[in-house]
């Protein structure tokens, strides 16, 4: 509930309402709540009885024309008490919600936005309030201060304020780090305006959900208090009705049904409405799992006929997400010991192509191919166990973001050694020795130290070296690298590319290097395949691509590299504004 995305606010609020109303549960809940509210408001019109007046003759009266729901244990009209009691519940719930938000919301906003001492103090107070047992405090207040149930609800509101405080503070903390809040500050907006425009809208959605929950909770607690006999006798309430019904449960069990039904329905609709709003906020559409991984469209050529130096053969590969096709009939061949560059802009399908070879696409992806074979083995229709055996041993993978691909909870040594123990069946000491050798091989100066380190203790470049060590640890024949140097500094990138090249040559591995950088391609690739909108538009040896690109798109990509272009030169004269941009 606290993880509501910042994408939920004013422009989307109407949509939120509409989306909530599309949920039949929400509509039913709103209808029930509407009925309860209408009934309570229209109580004087619906019944002429005074809910507090007892008529001895009507004691436990049966249902009749003048008493549609009969009379209770002391001769009061049940319908009147039910309708007027609804007022008490609704008012009580509303009071609790208002108080909880009036106290919790501003504190949470200010705490989250400014942090510092205010946050610390508010945090302390909130923790103390949370440590206080709510029911006992309310019992004490009702015994010592006032018999009024509404006073108890005010106290309850204060006691529930910490829930609101924490929720709002957490939401604010999440958005205040957003760049657009920085941008607003630079744009000269005051804090009040930033809060109103950029922070508050994000907080509103989770608040609505929280409010429905506080409301339901308050009604329940209020009824509990009244059931215990607290509250003024002149204040009809569902809890008091339950109390009366309880004493007469053997004579007139129906008396329990009416207040029970009213309370149950109100609380249930309120909570379910909260859930419906939350569901409407959830941006993700329900996932229709299409687990048809690697299914052949047609039988491909017999795999055994391939020339021996072909390591990977892909033909007619398609990847689709529902209606959307992201890879559209890709043919690729990687020879043993060859480095293939897969180049394209974002969204061209290059990573999707690489991932489908690894079998790493999400379940929604529908992968089909005429042929997908690795080293004489058909990859289509492999089950998960076979695929797992192949990944690591047969095909290694180097990801783009080194840091997010190391588990922060485990030492690097463990993360390196574990796959080797599993795939190569090495003993603990053998795996350790080999891991240390690998770390030394990838150019880490102090392998022992890195072996014992946690991922956050090493730099990004070092982490990428560790991942490269991991990728080659089980001697794969093919290495798939997805933008392996994009997240690194240029100087580190050069070293990492050196390392990849020397490892690749030393072990004779085939490699698919996914990249958008033609400099990287020029540095390391033997052959290049250029992708655009899910198709390969050109594939040729690297030298030929650079010397004379055949396809227009390749030419366009090559032309847009800034490298080697003329420098802008020094500022000659302080430029005078030629024209004002906005006036």
């Amino acid at each position: 509930m606290t993880t509501v995305e910042p994408s939920t606010a004013p422009a989307q609020r109407d949509r939120l309402l509409r989306r909530t109303l599309r949920d039949p549960v929400a509509v039913v809940c709103l209808a029930v709540l509407g009925l309860v509210i209408a009934g309570s408001l229209a109580a004087p019109l619906l019944t002429s009885h005074d809910p507090a007046r007892s008529v001895l003759a009507d004691t436990l009266a049966p249902m009749s024309g003048s008493h549609p729901l009969g009379g209770d244990g002391v001769g009061r009209d049940v319908l009147a008490r039910l309708l007027y009691g609804g007022r008490t519940s609704l008012v009580g719930g509303t009071i609790a919600v208002l108080v909880a938000f009036a106290v919790g919301a501003p504190l949470g906003l200010v705490s989250g936005f400014y942090r510092g001492w205010f946050d610390a103090v508010a945090g302390w107070i909130v923790n103390i309030i949370m440590a206080v047992p709510a029911i006992i405090v309310m019992l004490v207040v009702m015994a010592a201060v006032s018999q009024d149930l509404n006073v108890a609800m005010i106290v309850l509101g204060v006691i529930m304020a910490p829930m609101v405080f924490r929720l709002i503070r957490a939401s604010v903390l999440a958005v205040r780090e957003e760049l657009y809040v920085d941008a607003a500050r630079v744009a000269g907006l005051g804090d009040a305006r930033i809060m109103r425009r950029h922070i508050l809208p994000v907080v509103i959605a989770p608040s609505v959900i929280q409010a429905t929950q506080v409301f339901a909770l308050a009604i329940g607690i209020q009824a509990g208090l009244a059931f215990l006999g607290l509250g003024k006798a002149s204040q009809p309430s569902w809890g008091a009705m339950l109390n009366d019904a309880f004493t007469n449960v053997y004579n007139e069990p129906m008396l329990l049904v009416w207040p029970g039904l009213a309370m149950g329905l109100t609380i249930l609709s309120s909570s379910l409405l909260g859930n419906a709003v939350r569901d409407a906020l959830g941006v993700a559409e329900p996932v229709v799992a299409k687990r048809r991984r690697h299914r052949a469209k047609a039988a491909g050529a017999p795999v055994a006929d391939l020339p021996a130096d072909r390591l990977l053969t892909v033909s007619g590969l398609c990847v689709a997400y529902g209606e959307k096709t992201v890879v559209d009939g890709v043919d690729l061949i990687v020879a043993r010991g060859e480095v293939l560059g897969l180049v394209g802009e974002s969204g061209s399908g290059k990573s999707q192509t690489a991932f489908s070879v690894l079998g790493l696409l999400p379940d929604q992806a529908e992968v089909t191919a005429d042929q997908l074979s690795f080293d004489g083995k058909d990859l289509l229709g492999l089950d998960l166990a076979d695929l797992n055996a192949l990944r690591g041993r047969g095909i290694g993978y180097i990801p783009q973001e080194p840091m997010s691909n190391l588990d922060p909870c485990f030492r690097i040594g463990f993360q390196l050694a574990e796959p080797m123990r599993k795939h190569l069946r090495l003993s603990r000491t053998e795996a350790r020795t080999k891991a240390l050798e690998l770390l030394a091989r990838v150019g880490i100066a102090d392998p022992e130290r890195v072996f014992r380190s946690y991922p956050h203790q090493i730099s990004g470049g070092m982490a990428q070296r560790v991942l490269i060590a991991g990728a080659v640890s089980c001697d794969p024949r093919l290495l798939i690298a997805d933008e392996p140097t994009t997240a690194l500094d240029v100087t580190v990138q050069a070293e990492v590319l050196d390392l990849m090249r020397s490892l690749q040559r030393e072990r004779g591995m085939g490699m698919i290097l996914v990249t958008h950088d033609f400099g990287v391609v020029a540095d390391i690739c033997d052959r290049v395949a250029v992708m655009q909108r899910g198709r390969i538009v050109e594939a040729a040896p690297a030298a030929r691509i650079f010397a004379g690109p055949a396809h227009e798109y390749t030419r366009m990509l090559l032309d847009s590299t800034l490298e080697g272009g003329p420098a802008r030169g020094p500022l000659v004269t302080p430029a005078e504004p030629v024209k004002e941009v906005t006036s």
Binding site: V186, L189, P574
Partner: protein, 275 residues
């Protein structure tokens, strides 16, 4: 002196360390540089060099604990919130990430009119100006009614540029504004930056890690290494014949898109590293 727009004089930025009695973490160790009106100063450095922090210090978003930042000769480091807000007319920003720098819930029109409305411009006038601005950054006129997520990365960056421009600033701090974009988009957005500068005479403090980008856009280049400026000079000179060892390394490390020349450059780099 007064001919300079922005001056940094021995600026130190430190973040307090967590825990009592620990040394604060010093990001900038006394950086001095200047930007003239209408000039682009490219600021190059690797991650962790402090280049983003320097930009944020100029914007008043990072704590300046030593030295002085002057804008048009007037000290602006350590201003109060109110004075800082007044300065926002003159100093603006374009951030790196075009996905998180625009509030996803606001329409483009709301995003762009906001800085104008706070200064008391009437809504109709603000909207008229924004329509004009959208043309300047080559976005379609109907863009105003749409939400940021309906745009590609390059287009979002154009929106961010329009937001920076809407109050006619004198200086825009550009924090890696093209590094999240595809190469083809990168070139077009850089051209837009140049075009706007030539039209309005705005100055850029252009933070980037990419030598070829900095060469394309900058009049002068400063190289930041571990919190210190190690080299300053004309763009051509710094990016072709660097003097400092670090800049040389940076230059040799940047791959060129030509296999033969790249092989040469690699050999040079390995030779330099060995010596």
């Amino acid at each position: 002196m007064t001919s300079l727009l922005l001056e940094l004089d021995d600026v130190v930025v430190e973040y307090p360390a967590k825990g009592r009695g620990k040394e604060p973490f010093r990001v900038l160790h006394g950086v001095s540089l200047s930007v003239a009106p209408g000039e682009t100063l490219g600021l190059v450095g690797e991650s962790g060099s402090g280049k983003t922090t320097l930009g944020r210090a100029v914007l008043g978003l990072a704590p300046v604990t030593g030295g002085e930042i002057r804008f048009e000769g007037r000290p602006v480091s350590g201003l109060g919130r109110r004075e800082r807000r007044a300065l926002s007319k003159d100093i603006q920003v374009v951030f790196q990430d075009p996905y998180t720098s625009l509030n996803p819930a606001l329409t483009v029109m709301d995003i762009l009119t906001e800085p104008l409305l706070v200064t008391g411009v009437a809504r109709a006038e603000a909207e008229r100006r924004v329509q004009k601005l959208l043309g300047h950054v080559h976005l379609p006129q109907d863009a105003a009614r749409r939400l940021p997520r309906e745009f590609s990365g390059g287009q979002r960056q154009r929106i961010a540029i329009a937001r920076a421009l809407c109050r006619d600033p004198r200086l825009i701090v550009c924090d890696e504004p093209v590094s999240a974009l595809d190469l083809t988009t990168q070139a077009r957005v850089l051209d837009l930056f140049v075009e706007i500068q030539e039209a309005t005479g705005v100055a850029y403090l252009f933070v980037t890690h990419d030598l070829s980008v900095v060469r394309h856009i900058s009049h002068r280049v400063a190289v930041l290494y571990r919190g210190d400026i190690v080299e300053t000079g004309d763009a051509a000179q710094v990016t072709e014949h660097p003097e400092h060892a670090y800049t040389k390394r940076l230059l040799l490390a940047a791959p060129v898109s030509d296999p033969e020349r790249q092989a040469q450059r690699r050999a040079e780099r390995l030779k330099a590293a060995a010596s």
